[in-house]
Protein backbone atom coordinates (compact mmCIF):
# COMPACT_ATOMS: atom_id res chain seq x y z
CA UNK A 1 0.00 0.00 0.00
CA UNK A 2 0.93 3.64 -0.45
CA UNK A 3 0.04 6.67 1.64
CA UNK A 4 0.53 10.42 1.62
CA UNK A 5 1.34 11.55 5.15
CA UNK A 6 0.91 15.10 6.46
CA UNK A 7 3.01 15.09 9.60
CA UNK A 8 3.49 17.87 12.16
CA UNK A 9 7.22 18.58 12.49
CA UNK A 10 8.52 20.76 15.28
CA UNK A 11 12.20 20.84 16.26
CA UNK A 12 11.69 21.76 19.90
CA UNK A 13 9.31 23.19 22.50
CA UNK A 14 10.00 26.82 21.60
CA UNK A 15 10.37 26.22 17.85
CA UNK A 16 7.65 26.99 15.31
CA UNK A 17 6.17 23.82 13.83
CA UNK A 18 4.67 23.07 10.41
CA UNK A 19 3.21 20.23 8.40
CA UNK A 20 5.56 18.30 6.11
CA UNK A 21 4.28 15.88 3.49
CA UNK A 22 5.90 12.47 3.12
CA UNK A 23 5.12 9.49 0.97
CA UNK A 24 4.98 6.06 2.61
CA UNK A 25 5.83 3.36 0.04
CA UNK A 26 5.58 -0.42 0.24
CA UNK A 27 3.40 -0.50 3.33
CA UNK A 28 1.94 -3.88 4.18
CA UNK A 29 -1.72 -3.85 5.19
CA UNK A 30 -0.74 -5.93 8.22
CA UNK A 31 1.59 -3.27 9.56
CA UNK A 32 0.47 -1.36 12.60
CA UNK A 33 0.31 2.42 12.32
CA UNK A 34 3.53 2.75 14.31
CA UNK A 35 5.31 0.16 12.13
CA UNK A 36 4.30 2.21 9.11
CA UNK A 37 5.92 5.25 10.77
CA UNK A 38 9.02 3.11 11.50
CA UNK A 39 9.31 2.41 7.77
CA UNK A 40 9.00 6.11 6.96
CA UNK A 41 11.63 6.93 9.58
CA UNK A 42 14.00 4.32 8.19
CA UNK A 43 13.73 5.89 4.75
CA UNK A 44 14.28 9.35 6.26
CA UNK A 45 17.35 8.13 8.13
CA UNK A 46 18.79 6.57 4.97
CA UNK A 47 18.31 9.88 3.21
CA UNK A 48 20.13 11.58 6.07
CA UNK A 49 17.05 13.44 7.26
CA UNK A 50 15.83 13.74 10.83
CA UNK A 51 13.32 10.94 11.63
CA UNK A 52 9.86 11.86 12.94
CA UNK A 53 9.77 11.75 16.74
CA UNK A 54 6.75 9.90 18.12
CA UNK A 55 6.18 8.23 21.45
CA UNK A 56 5.58 4.55 22.14
CA UNK A 57 6.49 1.85 24.60
CA UNK A 58 4.45 -1.35 24.82
CA UNK A 59 2.91 -1.37 21.33
CA UNK A 60 0.13 -3.54 22.70
CA UNK A 61 -2.37 -1.02 23.97
CA UNK A 62 -1.57 -1.03 27.68
CA UNK A 63 0.96 1.71 28.38
CA UNK A 64 -0.77 4.72 26.85
CA UNK A 65 2.37 6.24 25.34
CA UNK A 66 1.40 6.34 21.70
CA UNK A 67 -0.33 9.67 21.31
CA UNK A 68 -1.22 10.52 17.74
CA UNK A 69 -4.16 12.47 16.40
CA UNK A 70 -4.83 10.70 13.12
CA UNK A 71 -7.13 12.48 10.66
CA UNK A 72 -8.58 14.62 13.42
CA UNK A 73 -9.22 11.73 15.81
CA UNK A 74 -7.04 10.81 18.80
CA UNK A 75 -5.80 7.22 18.28
CA UNK A 76 -7.32 7.21 14.81
CA UNK A 77 -10.55 6.06 13.23
CA UNK A 78 -11.09 2.82 15.17
CA UNK A 79 -12.95 2.86 18.49
CA UNK A 80 -11.67 1.47 21.76
CA UNK A 81 -8.03 0.98 20.73
CA UNK A 82 -4.76 2.88 20.95
CA UNK A 83 -2.84 4.08 17.89
CA UNK A 84 -0.36 1.19 18.23
CA UNK A 85 -3.23 -1.29 17.76
CA UNK A 86 -4.41 0.38 14.58
CA UNK A 87 -3.57 -1.48 11.35
CA UNK A 88 -2.96 -0.01 7.93
CA UNK A 89 -5.66 -2.19 6.35
CA UNK A 90 -8.10 0.21 8.04
CA UNK A 91 -7.08 2.87 5.47
CA UNK A 92 -7.68 2.80 1.74
CA UNK A 93 -4.66 2.56 -0.54
CA UNK A 94 -3.30 5.94 -1.58
CA UNK A 95 -5.14 7.79 1.20
CA UNK A 96 -3.86 11.05 2.65
CA UNK A 97 -3.37 10.80 6.42
CA UNK A 98 -2.83 13.81 8.68
CA UNK A 99 -0.87 13.12 11.86
CA UNK A 100 -0.77 15.69 14.69
CA UNK A 101 0.30 15.71 18.33
CA UNK A 102 -2.13 16.02 21.27
CA UNK A 103 -2.99 19.71 21.37
CA UNK A 104 -3.45 21.33 24.78
CA UNK A 105 -1.79 24.07 26.77
CA UNK A 106 -1.19 21.54 29.53
CA UNK A 107 0.64 19.23 27.09
CA UNK A 108 3.54 21.27 25.67
CA UNK A 109 5.17 19.78 22.59
CA UNK A 110 8.65 18.38 23.18
CA UNK A 111 9.39 17.45 19.59
CA UNK A 112 7.33 16.62 16.48
CA UNK A 113 4.53 14.37 17.74
CA UNK A 114 5.82 13.95 21.29
CA UNK A 115 4.15 15.97 24.04
CA UNK A 116 4.92 16.32 27.74
CA UNK A 117 2.11 14.68 29.69
CA UNK A 118 3.65 15.41 33.09
CA UNK A 119 0.52 17.37 33.95
CA UNK A 120 -1.37 14.09 34.34
CA UNK A 121 1.34 12.77 36.68
CA UNK A 122 1.10 15.90 38.82
CA UNK A 123 -2.66 15.45 39.07
CA UNK A 124 -2.02 11.87 40.26
CA UNK A 125 0.52 13.12 42.79
CA UNK A 126 -2.01 15.59 44.13
CA UNK A 127 -4.35 12.63 44.67
CA UNK A 128 -1.78 11.33 47.11
CA UNK A 129 -1.58 8.16 49.14
CA UNK A 130 -4.12 5.70 50.50
CA UNK A 131 -3.92 4.67 54.14
CA UNK A 132 -3.14 1.01 54.69
CA UNK A 133 -1.69 -0.72 57.70
CA UNK A 134 1.93 -1.64 57.45
CA UNK A 135 3.22 -4.91 58.79
CA UNK A 136 2.40 -8.41 57.64
CA UNK A 137 0.56 -8.79 54.36
CA UNK A 138 -3.21 -8.76 54.75
CA UNK A 139 -4.90 -12.11 54.19
CA UNK A 140 -6.76 -12.49 50.94
CA UNK A 141 -10.52 -11.91 51.02
CA UNK A 142 -10.42 -10.01 54.31
CA UNK A 143 -12.02 -6.96 52.73
CA UNK A 144 -15.05 -8.25 50.90
CA UNK A 145 -16.30 -6.06 48.05
CA UNK A 146 -19.51 -6.60 46.12
CA UNK A 147 -19.09 -7.79 42.55
CA UNK A 148 -20.80 -4.69 41.13
CA UNK A 149 -18.49 -2.38 43.07
CA UNK A 150 -15.45 -4.33 42.02
CA UNK A 151 -16.58 -4.06 38.39
CA UNK A 152 -17.08 -0.29 38.65
CA UNK A 153 -13.67 0.19 40.26
CA UNK A 154 -12.07 -2.05 37.63
CA UNK A 155 -13.70 -0.13 34.77
CA UNK A 156 -12.35 3.12 36.17
CA UNK A 157 -8.95 1.58 36.83
CA UNK A 158 -8.60 0.56 33.19
CA UNK A 159 -7.53 4.14 32.37
CA UNK A 160 -4.00 4.02 30.95
CA UNK A 161 -3.47 7.78 31.24
CA UNK A 162 -2.85 8.32 27.54
CA UNK A 163 -4.52 11.74 27.51
CA UNK A 164 -6.73 11.07 24.47
CA UNK A 165 -9.67 12.49 26.45
CA UNK A 166 -7.83 15.81 26.70
CA UNK A 167 -6.80 15.69 23.05
CA UNK A 168 -10.36 15.03 21.88
CA UNK A 169 -12.13 17.51 24.12
CA UNK A 170 -13.06 20.79 22.47
CA UNK A 171 -12.11 22.44 25.77
CA UNK A 172 -8.96 20.33 26.33
CA UNK A 173 -10.44 19.22 29.63
CA UNK A 174 -8.97 16.32 31.61
CA UNK A 175 -12.23 15.50 33.40
CA UNK A 176 -12.51 11.91 32.18
CA UNK A 177 -8.96 11.13 33.33
CA UNK A 178 -9.46 12.74 36.75
CA UNK A 179 -12.93 11.18 37.03
CA UNK A 180 -11.53 7.70 36.36
CA UNK A 181 -8.80 8.11 38.95
CA UNK A 182 -11.06 9.59 41.63
CA UNK A 183 -13.89 7.09 41.00
CA UNK A 184 -11.53 4.13 41.06
CA UNK A 185 -10.43 4.75 44.66
CA UNK A 186 -13.76 6.20 45.79
CA UNK A 187 -15.40 2.87 44.88
CA UNK A 188 -13.11 0.84 47.13
CA UNK A 189 -12.76 0.65 50.92
CA UNK A 190 -9.02 1.23 50.57
CA UNK A 191 -9.71 4.69 49.16
CA UNK A 192 -12.24 5.66 51.78
CA UNK A 193 -10.13 7.52 54.40
CA UNK A 194 -8.80 10.14 51.98
CA UNK A 195 -11.85 10.17 49.74
CA UNK A 196 -12.90 13.82 50.23
CA UNK A 197 -9.41 15.24 50.31
CA UNK A 198 -8.49 13.34 47.15
CA UNK A 199 -11.45 14.61 45.12
CA UNK A 200 -10.77 18.23 46.06
CA UNK A 201 -7.02 18.02 45.63
CA UNK A 202 -7.21 16.36 42.20
CA UNK A 203 -9.77 18.86 40.90
CA UNK A 204 -7.59 21.72 42.17
CA UNK A 205 -4.51 20.18 40.53
CA UNK A 206 -6.40 19.71 37.26
CA UNK A 207 -7.33 23.40 37.24
CA UNK A 208 -3.78 24.43 38.13
CA UNK A 209 -2.35 22.57 35.15
CA UNK A 210 -4.38 24.70 32.74
CA UNK A 211 -6.78 22.10 31.40
CA UNK A 212 -10.13 23.44 30.19
CA UNK A 213 -13.44 22.74 31.89
CA UNK A 214 -15.82 19.91 31.05
CA UNK A 215 -18.66 20.79 28.67
CA UNK A 216 -20.29 17.35 28.93
CA UNK A 217 -19.89 16.83 25.20
CA UNK A 218 -18.70 13.25 25.75
CA UNK A 219 -16.13 13.29 22.95
CA UNK A 220 -13.69 11.86 25.54
CA UNK A 221 -15.69 8.66 25.98
CA UNK A 222 -15.93 8.23 22.21
CA UNK A 223 -12.13 8.25 21.73
CA UNK A 224 -11.02 6.58 24.97
CA UNK A 225 -9.05 3.46 24.02
CA UNK A 226 -10.52 1.78 27.11
CA UNK A 227 -14.03 3.16 26.43
CA UNK A 228 -14.26 4.58 29.95
CA UNK A 229 -17.77 5.86 30.55
CA UNK A 230 -18.61 9.50 31.19
CA UNK A 231 -20.73 8.22 34.07
CA UNK A 232 -17.49 8.52 36.03
CA UNK A 233 -17.55 12.27 35.36
CA UNK A 234 -20.95 12.46 37.06
CA UNK A 235 -19.42 10.42 39.87
CA UNK A 236 -16.51 12.86 40.18
CA UNK A 237 -18.97 15.77 40.28
CA UNK A 238 -20.83 14.00 43.10
CA UNK A 239 -17.62 13.26 44.95
CA UNK A 240 -16.52 16.88 44.66
CA UNK A 241 -19.90 18.21 45.81
CA UNK A 242 -20.04 15.80 48.73
CA UNK A 243 -16.49 16.69 49.70
CA UNK A 244 -17.27 20.40 49.52
CA UNK A 245 -20.43 20.15 51.59
CA UNK A 246 -19.26 17.54 54.07
CA UNK A 247 -15.72 18.74 54.60
CA UNK A 248 -15.35 22.29 53.40
CA UNK A 249 -11.70 22.11 54.47
CA UNK A 250 -8.68 23.61 52.78
CA UNK A 251 -9.10 23.74 49.08
CA UNK A 252 -6.05 24.15 46.96
CA UNK A 253 -3.45 22.48 49.11
CA UNK A 254 -0.36 21.92 47.09
CA UNK A 255 1.12 18.50 47.75
CA UNK A 256 4.83 18.45 48.40
CA UNK A 257 6.67 17.08 45.41
CA UNK A 258 7.91 13.58 46.23
CA UNK A 259 10.51 13.81 43.47
CA UNK A 260 11.86 17.17 44.60
CA UNK A 261 15.42 15.86 44.98
CA UNK A 262 15.56 14.52 41.46
CA UNK A 263 15.12 17.84 39.71
Amino acid sequence: MKFILNIWRQKGPAEKGRFVTYEAQDVSPDMSFLEMLDVVNQQLTLKGEEPVAFEYDCREGICGSCSLVINGMPHGPERGITACQLYMRRFSDGATITIEPWRARAFPIIKDLVVDRGALDRVMQAGGYISVHTGGAVDGNVLLIGKDRAEIAMDAASCIGCGACVAACKNASAMLFVAAKVSHLASLPQGEPERSRRAKAMVAAMDREGFGTCGNQYECEAVCPKSISVRFIAMLNREFLKATVAEPGPQAERPSDPHAESH
Binding site: G72, R103, F211, T213, E219, A234, T244, Q251
Partner: protein
Protein backbone atom coordinates in the same frame (compact mmCIF):
# COMPACT_ATOMS: atom_id res chain seq x y z
CA UNK B 1 -16.41 32.41 53.28
CA UNK B 2 -13.05 32.48 51.54
CA UNK B 3 -13.21 28.71 51.34
CA UNK B 4 -16.68 28.92 49.87
CA UNK B 5 -15.47 31.20 47.09
CA UNK B 6 -12.45 28.97 46.66
CA UNK B 7 -14.77 26.13 45.74
CA UNK B 8 -16.84 28.25 43.37
CA UNK B 9 -13.75 29.26 41.48
CA UNK B 10 -12.73 25.67 40.77
CA UNK B 11 -13.88 24.40 37.40
CA UNK B 12 -16.36 21.95 38.91
CA UNK B 13 -17.69 24.50 41.43
CA UNK B 14 -18.32 27.08 38.68
CA UNK B 15 -19.96 24.47 36.50
CA UNK B 16 -22.33 23.50 39.28
CA UNK B 17 -23.44 27.11 39.71
CA UNK B 18 -23.83 27.55 35.95
CA UNK B 19 -25.96 24.42 35.94
CA UNK B 20 -28.13 25.49 38.91
CA UNK B 21 -28.67 29.03 37.60
CA UNK B 22 -29.29 27.62 34.11
CA UNK B 23 -31.91 25.22 35.46
CA UNK B 24 -33.64 28.11 37.25
CA UNK B 25 -33.66 30.14 34.02
CA UNK B 26 -34.93 27.11 32.13
CA UNK B 27 -37.72 26.71 34.66
CA UNK B 28 -38.71 30.31 34.05
CA UNK B 29 -38.59 29.79 30.28
CA UNK B 30 -40.94 26.81 30.52
CA UNK B 31 -43.48 28.66 32.68
CA UNK B 32 -43.20 31.74 30.50
CA UNK B 33 -44.06 29.62 27.46
CA UNK B 34 -47.03 28.00 29.23
CA UNK B 35 -48.30 31.45 30.28
CA UNK B 36 -47.93 32.75 26.75
CA UNK B 37 -50.08 29.93 25.41
CA UNK B 38 -53.09 31.71 26.97
CA UNK B 39 -53.00 33.84 23.85
CA UNK B 40 -55.03 31.05 22.27
CA UNK B 41 -57.79 31.59 24.84
CA UNK B 42 -58.29 35.12 23.60
CA UNK B 43 -57.58 38.66 24.77
CA UNK B 44 -59.41 38.36 28.06
CA UNK B 45 -57.43 35.40 29.38
CA UNK B 46 -54.03 36.79 28.38
CA UNK B 47 -54.68 40.32 29.60
CA UNK B 48 -56.10 39.11 32.92
CA UNK B 49 -53.05 36.86 33.36
CA UNK B 50 -50.69 39.74 32.57
CA UNK B 51 -52.58 42.02 34.94
CA UNK B 52 -52.49 39.31 37.62
CA UNK B 53 -48.70 39.20 37.36
CA UNK B 54 -48.35 42.98 37.36
CA UNK B 55 -50.83 43.50 40.19
CA UNK B 56 -48.49 41.97 42.69
CA UNK B 57 -45.59 44.40 42.70
CA UNK B 58 -43.74 42.48 45.40
CA UNK B 59 -43.91 39.27 43.43
CA UNK B 60 -43.14 41.02 40.16
CA UNK B 61 -40.08 42.82 41.46
CA UNK B 62 -38.79 39.87 43.45
CA UNK B 63 -39.04 37.80 40.30
CA UNK B 64 -37.41 40.50 38.18
CA UNK B 65 -34.52 41.12 40.56
CA UNK B 66 -34.12 37.40 41.22
CA UNK B 67 -34.06 36.53 37.52
CA UNK B 68 -31.63 39.33 36.80
CA UNK B 69 -29.32 38.11 39.55
CA UNK B 70 -29.53 34.51 38.40
CA UNK B 71 -28.95 35.51 34.77
CA UNK B 72 -25.97 37.64 35.84
CA UNK B 73 -24.45 34.74 37.77
CA UNK B 74 -25.06 32.35 34.87
CA UNK B 75 -23.54 34.64 32.27
CA UNK B 76 -20.63 35.76 34.44
CA UNK B 77 -19.51 32.24 35.32
CA UNK B 78 -20.25 30.84 31.84
CA UNK B 79 -18.10 33.53 30.23
CA UNK B 80 -15.30 32.77 32.68
CA UNK B 81 -15.48 29.05 31.84
CA UNK B 82 -15.55 29.82 28.13
CA UNK B 83 -12.41 31.94 28.48
CA UNK B 84 -10.62 29.16 30.41
CA UNK B 85 -11.63 26.71 27.68
CA UNK B 86 -10.30 28.91 24.89
CA UNK B 87 -7.01 29.29 26.73
CA UNK B 88 -6.66 25.56 27.28
CA UNK B 89 -5.91 24.96 23.58
CA UNK B 90 -3.86 27.81 22.13
CA UNK B 91 -2.96 25.88 18.95
CA UNK B 92 -5.83 24.04 17.31
CA UNK B 93 -5.92 20.99 15.06
CA UNK B 94 -5.54 21.19 11.30
CA UNK B 95 -8.05 18.37 10.89
CA UNK B 96 -10.86 17.89 13.38
CA UNK B 97 -13.59 15.29 13.52
CA UNK B 98 -16.23 14.79 16.16
CA UNK B 99 -17.76 11.42 16.93
CA UNK B 100 -20.08 12.29 19.70
CA UNK B 101 -20.14 16.00 20.59
CA UNK B 102 -23.41 17.44 19.27
CA UNK B 103 -23.64 20.75 17.42
CA UNK B 104 -25.63 22.16 20.30
CA UNK B 105 -22.98 21.15 22.84
CA UNK B 106 -20.18 22.70 20.79
CA UNK B 107 -21.94 26.03 20.33
CA UNK B 108 -23.03 26.80 23.89
CA UNK B 109 -21.01 30.01 24.15
CA UNK B 110 -22.25 31.26 20.76
CA UNK B 111 -25.90 30.37 21.37
CA UNK B 112 -25.64 31.78 24.90
CA UNK B 113 -24.38 35.13 23.61
CA UNK B 114 -27.02 35.28 20.87
CA UNK B 115 -29.63 34.38 23.46
CA UNK B 116 -28.52 37.32 25.59
CA UNK B 117 -28.98 39.64 22.60
CA UNK B 118 -32.40 38.17 21.94
CA UNK B 119 -33.47 38.52 25.58
CA UNK B 120 -32.39 42.18 25.63
CA UNK B 121 -34.28 42.81 22.40
CA UNK B 122 -37.36 41.03 23.74
CA UNK B 123 -37.34 43.08 26.97
CA UNK B 124 -36.92 46.37 25.10
CA UNK B 125 -39.66 45.35 22.70
CA UNK B 126 -42.52 43.82 24.68
CA UNK B 127 -41.70 44.77 28.27
CA UNK B 128 -40.37 48.30 27.90
CA UNK B 129 -42.01 49.08 24.56
CA UNK B 130 -39.06 51.03 23.19
CA UNK B 131 -38.49 49.11 19.99
CA UNK B 132 -41.89 49.54 18.44
CA UNK B 133 -43.76 52.68 19.36
CA UNK B 134 -46.41 52.26 16.68
CA UNK B 135 -48.62 50.41 19.16
CA UNK B 136 -49.71 52.72 22.01
CA UNK B 137 -50.18 51.17 25.44
CA UNK B 138 -53.94 50.97 25.78
CA UNK B 139 -56.50 49.36 28.03
CA UNK B 140 -58.91 46.64 27.03
CA UNK B 141 -62.64 46.69 27.85
CA UNK B 142 -62.02 45.47 31.38
CA UNK B 143 -59.40 48.11 32.08
CA UNK B 144 -56.41 45.74 31.80
CA UNK B 145 -53.39 46.64 29.72
CA UNK B 146 -53.97 45.23 26.23
CA UNK B 147 -51.06 42.78 26.08
CA UNK B 148 -52.95 40.62 23.60
CA UNK B 149 -53.29 43.50 21.16
CA UNK B 150 -49.63 44.34 21.54
CA UNK B 151 -48.48 40.78 20.79
CA UNK B 152 -50.79 40.43 17.80
CA UNK B 153 -49.66 43.79 16.46
CA UNK B 154 -46.01 42.71 16.79
CA UNK B 155 -46.32 39.42 14.94
CA UNK B 156 -48.26 40.92 12.07
CA UNK B 157 -44.90 42.44 11.16
CA UNK B 158 -42.77 39.87 9.28
CA UNK B 159 -39.59 41.47 10.62
CA UNK B 160 -40.54 40.71 14.24
CA UNK B 161 -41.68 37.24 13.23
CA UNK B 162 -38.24 36.56 11.74
CA UNK B 163 -36.36 37.89 14.79
CA UNK B 164 -38.49 35.93 17.25
CA UNK B 165 -38.29 32.69 15.27
CA UNK B 166 -34.50 33.07 15.11
CA UNK B 167 -34.52 33.67 18.86
CA UNK B 168 -36.45 30.44 19.36
CA UNK B 169 -33.98 28.49 17.23
CA UNK B 170 -31.10 29.78 19.35
CA UNK B 171 -32.99 29.08 22.58
CA UNK B 172 -33.74 25.56 21.39
CA UNK B 173 -30.09 24.87 20.60
CA UNK B 174 -28.90 26.19 23.97
CA UNK B 175 -31.55 24.34 25.98
CA UNK B 176 -31.20 21.03 24.21
CA UNK B 177 -27.64 20.53 25.46
CA UNK B 178 -28.04 22.57 28.62
CA UNK B 179 -30.65 20.55 30.49
CA UNK B 180 -29.10 17.11 30.09
CA UNK B 181 -25.68 18.60 30.65
CA UNK B 182 -26.69 20.20 33.94
CA UNK B 183 -27.91 16.85 35.26
CA UNK B 184 -24.47 15.39 34.54
CA UNK B 185 -22.79 18.40 36.15
CA UNK B 186 -24.89 17.92 39.28
CA UNK B 187 -23.85 14.29 39.35
CA UNK B 188 -27.24 12.85 38.44
CA UNK B 189 -26.53 9.58 36.71
CA UNK B 190 -28.09 6.13 36.72
CA UNK B 191 -27.39 3.05 34.61
CA UNK B 192 -31.03 2.64 33.57
CA UNK B 193 -32.33 6.20 33.67
CA UNK B 194 -29.41 7.77 31.78
CA UNK B 195 -31.27 7.56 28.47
CA UNK B 196 -34.11 9.51 30.02
CA UNK B 197 -31.70 12.13 31.38
CA UNK B 198 -29.98 12.50 28.01
CA UNK B 199 -33.30 12.79 26.20
CA UNK B 200 -34.74 15.31 28.67
CA UNK B 201 -32.82 18.31 27.28
CA UNK B 202 -33.82 17.90 23.63
CA UNK B 203 -37.40 17.06 24.65
CA UNK B 204 -37.92 20.15 26.81
CA UNK B 205 -36.17 22.29 24.19
CA UNK B 206 -38.55 21.08 21.49
CA UNK B 207 -41.62 21.66 23.70
CA UNK B 208 -40.55 25.22 24.54
CA UNK B 209 -39.71 26.09 20.93
CA UNK B 210 -42.90 24.52 19.52
CA UNK B 211 -45.06 26.29 22.13
CA UNK B 212 -43.53 29.70 21.50
CA UNK B 213 -43.31 29.30 17.74
CA UNK B 214 -46.98 28.28 17.63
CA UNK B 215 -47.89 31.69 19.07
CA UNK B 216 -45.70 33.59 16.63
CA UNK B 217 -46.89 31.63 13.60
CA UNK B 218 -50.56 31.64 14.60
CA UNK B 219 -50.54 35.42 14.57
CA UNK B 220 -48.36 35.69 11.48
CA UNK B 221 -50.73 33.49 9.49
CA UNK B 222 -53.80 35.30 10.79
CA UNK B 223 -55.18 32.39 12.83
CA UNK B 224 -55.24 34.65 15.86
CA UNK B 225 -56.51 38.18 15.17
CA UNK B 226 -57.03 41.25 17.25
Amino acid sequence: MIRFFGHILTSVGSKVLVALSGLALAGFVVFHMLGNLQLFEGPEALNTYAAFLRDMPILLWTARVGLLGIAGLHIGLAVRLAVLNRRARPVGYAVREYRRASLSSRTMAVTGSLLLLFILFHLLHLTAGWVDTSFPDRLDLRGHRDVFGKVVHAFQNPLFVAVYLAGQAVLGLHLSHALSSSLQTLGVEHPLLDRLFRGAGPLVAVLVVVGNAAIILAVAFGLVRA
